[in-house]
Symmetry: C2
Subunit: 334 residues, 2 copies
């Protein structure tokens, strides 16, 4: 490969015309990316659900990550927020700040990643801004989805007595980051690769939409960490939540990692405090749990009951029914 | 002042609760910034106009600029896009990537700037994301406004024979950048300060809304430069545009600068190629120009006719009626 510093600068207008405009081809709202703004028609009876997330190179992805994967992760972390609100993906706006190390090839890879996931998730580019930066690559994406008016699943609907459930498996995001950065050297290479893939490419749980709409009283996606995000639901709902660490659902690779750690509770607390799982944590009335689990199963997703909401405030963590003092409350961007 | 590196890191949750949540107090859509997403109700008969712009420290603002001014500029460059579409400001989403040099005081100043302009322009915070960055401060803002369905003024409505008009004065943005970075040393200090202020704090031309809705066939804001942005209208409209440099409206400070330059045409071309004016450039049918000018005047804004649209494609620049080869086509972010 040639010296990145020797690459000719990319013409921004060319970049927009050749790489971005095709991504907006399916969206009349985008006005061909030829205007100052996009124009979205209201949909009577529907609410527009809007979320936005930023990924910074060296903070949220690795400088060694390929840019098609970064683009897909950027789209998916936002789609994960829409999934938590039970909204149907609609369109997105992209702000990209390109660093000098990125030439045409990197931008083309980024656009290819977006194109692949646009097709996979039925979402289109509607607008954005392209700038340069002397610093790390920085991408902000604002994603929009539609929901029936008033039917969005918020964080604030949990009530004392409701159960806490989580989709899929927990801890693969943080173990995947360790694997992707050369950690977990004692683990077999196949498991390490599976974890790194999970970190690089989350799977937004959009298939849970019907189950959430039917049975969830509250939901959030697991981006800051299971304990932290369950706490966000409790805070928004004005109640407390008790989490049973021993019930944390684990992937085969994560279970193998826990088995190799000296203290099972400490290991589980670490996984439940790590970020980037992009599962859905939700509340459901006790008598709706079985139906929620069945509806999720029909959509191909395992839901596991891991705790309950209570009167009061804050997060209580238990291990096998005994109070456990978690060493940290979740991942914080500092 | 203490060493910036010695500042304690800001707790992001504290930052959101104490500095950002008050900015969202007027927006039920924001769900108190306690959720994964915001929820916007559709407005039957109205379109949602969405625009987004990024400001990077060292590229779009100076490291020496105070952060309340940066916040206001960030909001205003987006409001300028809404103004060009004749949309009424509604709400915004903020992605902020904070560098280590920013402690609580800087963030408080930034929030104060947002609060001031929220009050001035009737817009509220609805959501966002806060991250850290090892690089330059980077802010992306997505602004939304409402327009009557189908009544948004696009870039694509200019037709051959329509006149090109521009609001206010041109060139103050680029001269202001020069003044703010120690240039224009020969200019008197009062004019220099006025220009630097204009660069640091643009004035979105929202007061032109009624005039644009009534008389404009197309419009854009002047962010890349008058020639470039007039060219964007021509491109989106499928026609050519001829611009008369000699008609460029100038502020008293810019006129004084032009008078001191050896070649008037070169000087005017420079101003018409500079960015950051945040005026509105628009097209209007010939028989609507007088009414457009009068309507703008009633709103306190001077509109000046500076050219016309023609059959063909591209931008033709003239000086006193003679073809002029502009040295550059507008500011490009490279």
């Amino acid at each position: 490969m040639s010296d990145p510093k020797a690459r000719p600068p990319v013409d921004e207008f060319d970049h927009i015309a050749r790489l971005l405009r095709p991504l907006a081809a399916g969206a009349p709202e985008a006005l061909g990316l030829l205007d100052d703004a996009a124009i979205l028609q209201s949909r009577p009876g529907q609410d527009l659900v809007v979320t936005t997330d930023t990924l910074v190179e060296g903070v949220h992805f690795l400088p060694s990550d390929s840019l098609d994967m970064v683009a897909r992760k950027l789209l998916r972390v936002n789609l994960s927020d829409l999934a938590a609100k039970a909204a149907a993906p609609y369109g997105y706006f992209l702000c990209a700040s390109w660093s000098p190390r990125c030439g045409w090839d990197e931008r083309e890879a980024f656009a290819a990643g977006l194109a692949a996931d646009q097709a996979a998730f039925g979402i289109v580019l509607m607008g954005g801004d392209t700038t340069s930066t002397p610093g790390p690559l920085t991408f902000s994406l604002t994603a929009m989805g539609w929901a029936q008016a008033g039917e969005t699943v918020k964080r604030s609907g949990a009530r004392p007595g409701h159960r806490l459930l989580v989709s899929g498996t927990i801890g693969d995001g943080s173990l995947g980051l360790a694997a992707a950065t050369g950690g977990l050297a004692q683990m077999d290479v196949r498991r390490r690769a599976a974890l790194a893939d999970r970190y690089r490419l989350p799977h937004p749980r959009l298939e849970l939409r019907a189950a959430l709409l039917a049975y969830a009283s509250a939901a959030a996606d697991v981006s800051d960490g299971l304990i932290a995000d369950a706490g966000h639901i409790a805070e928004a709902s004005g109640c407390a939540v008790a989490i049973e660490l021993g019930a944390t659902p684990l992937s085969e690779a994560a279970a193998a990692w826990v088995a190799g750690e000296p203290n099972r509770a400490v290991a589980l607390a670490k996984l439940a405090s790590g970020g980037d799982d992009y599962e859905i944590v939700l509340a459901a009335p006790a008598d709706a749990c079985a139906s929620a689990v069945a509806a999720a199963k029909a959509a191909g997703v395992v839901l596991t009951e891991i705790g309950r909401f209570e009167e009061g405030a804050g997060v209580g963590v238990q291990m096998d029914g005994q109070p456990y003092a978690a060493p940290r409350a979740g991942y914080r961007h500092l």
